[in-house]
Amino acid sequence: MRACSFLHVVLILTPATAAFAGTATITQNISVQLDSAGKLAAPSALSLLSSGLAFTDFAGSLNLQYRFRTTPAGSGAITVRAGADFSPSGGPSLSSAALRYSCSGAGLGTACSGLQTVSASAETPIVQIPGSACTGGGGSCSAADPVSIQLQFSLDNSPQYQTGSYSIPLIFTISTL
């Protein structure tokens, strides 16, 4: 279980142990180094469904939430790959490029273009974040924090698949430079 925000500032006020008379001015310099950072949150499961017409592809939409802060010279990205192929065997398989997705509605950054094919051996793009970008606060940053992007998944519905229930793990990864 994790906290909701990036950074928490907690003021701890303690009782004064002594009372001083008079006035004094103290200057304290505080500096902070903010590096590029990013986090994401994905739903634990998504069901892909067929529309009802025979052998229409299975489809499902996933909402991926993310937070980002990039340096002026930096950038960031969210990618996805499959942790394994569909299981059990006898059903869909990544070897036939059966699982694809498209991206839309990126709250920050540029969504992937066209249809992407999910692979277990390579990361495929979801969103690209430019430099000097951040989520929340408005202005040069996004207004919302976190922001989200929608992924529309499509899975072949081949007659060759045996009847049954199949599952595949997807791993979303966030990276910053």
């Binding site: 279980m1 994790r2 906290a3 909701c4 928490h8 907690v10 003021l11 701890i12 006020l13 303690t14 009782p15 004064a16 990013g38 986090k39 994401l40 949150a41 994905a42 739903p43 634990s44 499961a45 998504l46 069901s47 892909l48 469904l49 067929s50 017409l53 025979a54 052998f55 299975f58 499902g60 996933l62 991926l64 939430q65 937070r67 942790g83 006898g90 059903g91 869909p92 699982l99 976190p146 998944f153 899975l155 072949d156 081949s158 007659p159 060759q160 698949y161 045996q162 009847t163 049954g164 229930s165 199949y166 599952s167 595949i168 793990p169 997807l170 791993i171 979303f172 990864t173 966030i174």
Partner: protein, 182 residues
């Protein structure tokens, strides 16, 4: 009094810390999602010969013949599934005065057919007689039958009696093919 106020502020600060640490969504440098799909039994069929011409060739009053081709896709349940392709004459020959499936001018006049269904289907056996009242078999499938991704082929070879009682003219009937899978 002052000490009491500061203590209250400390408590408030601690409450703020507690509230801000309340869980909302699990954010991290990576995230996992399981995609789940349930593959059901299903079937579809496409009749590629939209209009089948029945023609008489050779000797006089030889029966009319013709072939209707179709493609099918099927997936039956892995353990106890089954499937079939059937046909039915849903509209008898028209106009009247010619052949008829339901009311032929001569007893024994018939629209009959034989079947070809590629694997994993099993074609109907022998010669079948088409009906306007019931479905008749074209092909059948067992459990875990799965066609090719692009579909598999099949055909029905028709024979229609050439009865001299038929008035000259052109006649047509509608035959409906049905495929099902469990």
């Amino acid at each position: 009094m002052k000490h009491k106020s500061i203590v209250l502020l400390s408590i408030a600060a601690m409450m703020l810390l507690f509230v801000s640490a309340a869980p909302c969504q699990t954010f991290g440098s990576s995230g996992n999602t399981n995609l789940n799909v349930t593959v059901e039994a299903e079937a579809s069929l496409y009749v590629s010969t939209a209009n089948t011409a029945l023609t008489s060739t050779g000797t006089l009053f030889s029966d009319y013949t013709g072939t209707t081709n179709f493609m099918y896709k099927i997936r039956t349940s892995k353990t106890s599934g089954a499937g079939n392709i059937q046909l039915k004459v849903t509209t008898d020959f028209s106009p009247s005065g010619g052949p008829s499936v339901a009311n032929p001018p001569t007893a024994g006049d018939a629209l009959t057919y034989s079947c070809t269904v590629s694997s994993p289907g099993t074609p109907c056996s022998g010669t079948q007689t088409a009906s306007t009242t019931s479905n008749t078999p074209v092909g059948s499938f067992g459990a875990n039958a799965r066609s090719a991704r692009e579909g598999n082929s099949g055909s029905v070879a028709w024979t229609l009696t050439n009865d001299p009682l038929y008035e000259t003219g052109s006649y047509s009937a509608v035959v409906t093919f049905t495929v099902s899978a469990t």
